[in-house]
């Protein structure tokens, strides 16, 4: 692990800021969906890239042979903090998408369901990441279009495939994991945030600034 590793004081603060962001997002999303949204306390780990598959397998709410859908979105806050969010959903999630988005069966054929899954994932990721990053930087975060990177693939296979793509540009990874649960409609999903290693020094500067301001 090189100097991009966060000391425990900064890691604790980041955990705290992620918690604050999730609190904001929970209420924002509850008002958007009209359902109570539980966001479970996130796990933040600094992992070296070769541990990524096992980190995903160990932390996911889905068992490793469960067929999942993975949706990815790149985010960028003025080139200072960059990374990607990955949302993992399962087949059951598809059934809860329509009530969450206040739609009926007639609104959506099977093709549209993918669009709605993307939309919903974008809303979850957008809310959480914006609320996290705005605690460091006032400027808005920009998000790339969402893409489905796995469809009905066993989690285990996906996790190892994710390593193949991540390996080319990540050395050390700061990974945060968040669970969303909406009991009323049986909705649950995982979200992994991977920060670009080039952003880690900037993230550390931002964290130290927040620490100093709070001294």
């Amino acid at each position: 692990m090189n100097d991009s590793k966060l000391p425990s004081e900064e890691l604790d603060l980041l955990r705290e800021l992620v918690n604050v962001a999730m609190g904001l997002s929970a209420s924002e999303l509850a008002s958007l969906f009209s359902y109570f949204v539980k966001i479970k306390v996130p796990v933040i780990n600094i992992e070296s890239v070769e541990e990524l598959p096992e980190t995903i397998l160990k932390n996911s709410i889905f068992p490793e042979d469960e067929e999942i859908i993975a949706i990815r979105q790149l985010f960028n806050n003025n080139g200072i903090i960059k990374g990607e969010g990955i949302i993992l959903l399962n087949r059951k999630t598809r059934e809860s998408v329509l009530p969450l988005l206040r739609l009926s069966e007639e609104d959506a054929d099977s093709e549209m369901i993918s669009d709605f899954l993307l939309e919903l994932s974008g809303q979850l990721m957008g809310s959480c990441l914006s609320n996290l990053l705005k605690q460091f930087f006032p400027s808005p975060t920009s998000f790339d279009p969402l893409e489905i990177i796995a469809s009905d693939e066993p989690l285990r296979k996906f996790a190892y495939r994710a390593l193949e793509t991540a390996d080319s540009y990540y050395e050390d990874i700061l990974c945060s994991k968040i669970d969303f649960v909406i009991d009323k409609v049986n909705f649950q999903c995982d979200m992994f945030i991977l920060f670009d290693p080039a952003s880690l020094p900037n993230l550390r500067i931002a964290l130290r600034k927040v620490l100093e301001e709070n001294l």
């Binding site: 924002e28 008002s31 958007l32 070296s48 890239v49 070769e50 598959p53 988005l101 206040r102 739609l103 609104d107 959506a108 549209m112 669009d115 709605f116 993307l118 939309e119 974008g122 809303q123 957008g126 809310s127 914006s130 808005p140 975060t141 920009s142 998000f143 790339d144 279009p145 969402l146 893409e147 285990r156 296979k157 190892y160 390593l163 390996d167």
Partner: protein
């Protein structure tokens, strides 16, 4: 410098080479720029206050309603690429315009209303280039699949070496025979490509595969895993024999050069080795173990081999 006036802003608004449509909190059109006027063949005054979905009846209304609700409430920019929806705004101006669209929340000053500024970018040319490129990649891949051989290095391609790995793992399981997997990767290959160009890069890949192939025995299989990464499957033998053979290969690669007009290119590679045992569930895990060892070899200074261990 004089103050920036409305005229100047309006000039920019109309000169930019992408479409902008501003809608109010009830999806009524407030204004659009010249780009949209040109493609829609109507000026903005004629549609002011008209519902967006009335002006563009082919828009996917349900989906956009969901999107607009998210944009307004979460106040985040939402983007749609041509890959998700090639043509969102169906302009009558002729030809198919592939589009990337952004939906930007804009506060109407002094109110709680959130307007949405829709940006429409014509990406037809880059999108068509990408589609053609994907088509070429597909053709190349299918050609490769027919032969099972990597066209450049003339060793097994990824698909066939991975299949071979699965087969050999099954055999090793049934016969309780030793099996080893070695993954290796050329050091600083990107900088060789950047410094000497891709033709020299290709020659380096050929040199390495020939060096390995010429040292192999009948119990070994060798393939290109991807880019500058290779895979050797070794059956039978003791771990010591395997490690000593791999170290010999490493040193032979390191002792040779590829000559170019700009001087000779020094080559080295890092090796990760994993030994098959009953605890390894599948080929993905076996590859991962060798890959972890390879990653460590890179971290520890390259041009070396590391045997995977759980620690």
């Amino acid at each position: 410098m004089s103050q920036i006036g409305f005229g100047l802003i309006s000039e920019i608004f109309n000169r930019i080479d992408f479409g902008m449509i501003l809608i109010d909190n009830n999806d009524k059109i407030v204004i659009w720029n010249d780009f949209v006027s040109r493609h829609y063949q109507k000026d903005p005054a004629s549609v002011r206050g008209v519902d967006l979905f009335e002006v563009f009846p082919n828009l996917p209304r349900t989906w956009l309603n969901v999107k607009f609700r998210g944009v307004r409430q979460l106040r985040n920019i939402s983007k749609v690429s041509w890959e998700q929806r090639p043509v969102l705004f169906d302009f009558p101006s002729g030809g198919t315009m592939l589009q990337d669209c952004d939906f930007i929340p804009v506060n109407n000053p002094g109110t709680d209303e959130v307007y949405i500024c829709i940006i429409i970018k014509d990406v037809s040319d880059p999108a068509k280039n990408k589609m053609e490129l994907n088509e070429l990649i597909k053709i190349n891949k299918s050609l490769e699949e027919i032969t099972n051989i990597d066209a450049l290095t003339e060793i097994f391609n990824r698909r066939s070496i991975l299949q071979a790995l699965k087969d050999k793992m099954n055999e090793a399981r049934e016969n309780s025979e030793p099996l080893y997997l070695c993954m290796f990767d050329l050091d600083h290959f990107k900088s060789i490509n950047d410094t000497y160009g891709h033709i020299v890069g290709d020659r380096v890949l050929k040199y390495v595969s020939q060096t390995v192939s010429s040292s192999m025995t009948k119990d070994m299989l060798f393939g290109r895993y991807g880019g500058e990464e290779f895979m050797i499957i070794l059956q039978g033998g003791t771990l010591d024999d395997v490690l000593s053979w791999i170290d010999g290969v490493r040193s032979r690669i390191f002792s040779g050069n590829v000559e170019t007009r700009e001087g000779s290119v020094k080559i080295s590679a890092s090796f990760g080795i994993a030994e098959f045992n009953g605890l390894i569930k599948d080929d993905l895990e076996f590859i991962h173990s060798a890959d972890v060892a390879l990653y460590r070899a890179k971290k520890e200074g390259r041009n070396r081999m590391i045997l995977f261990s759980q620690k």
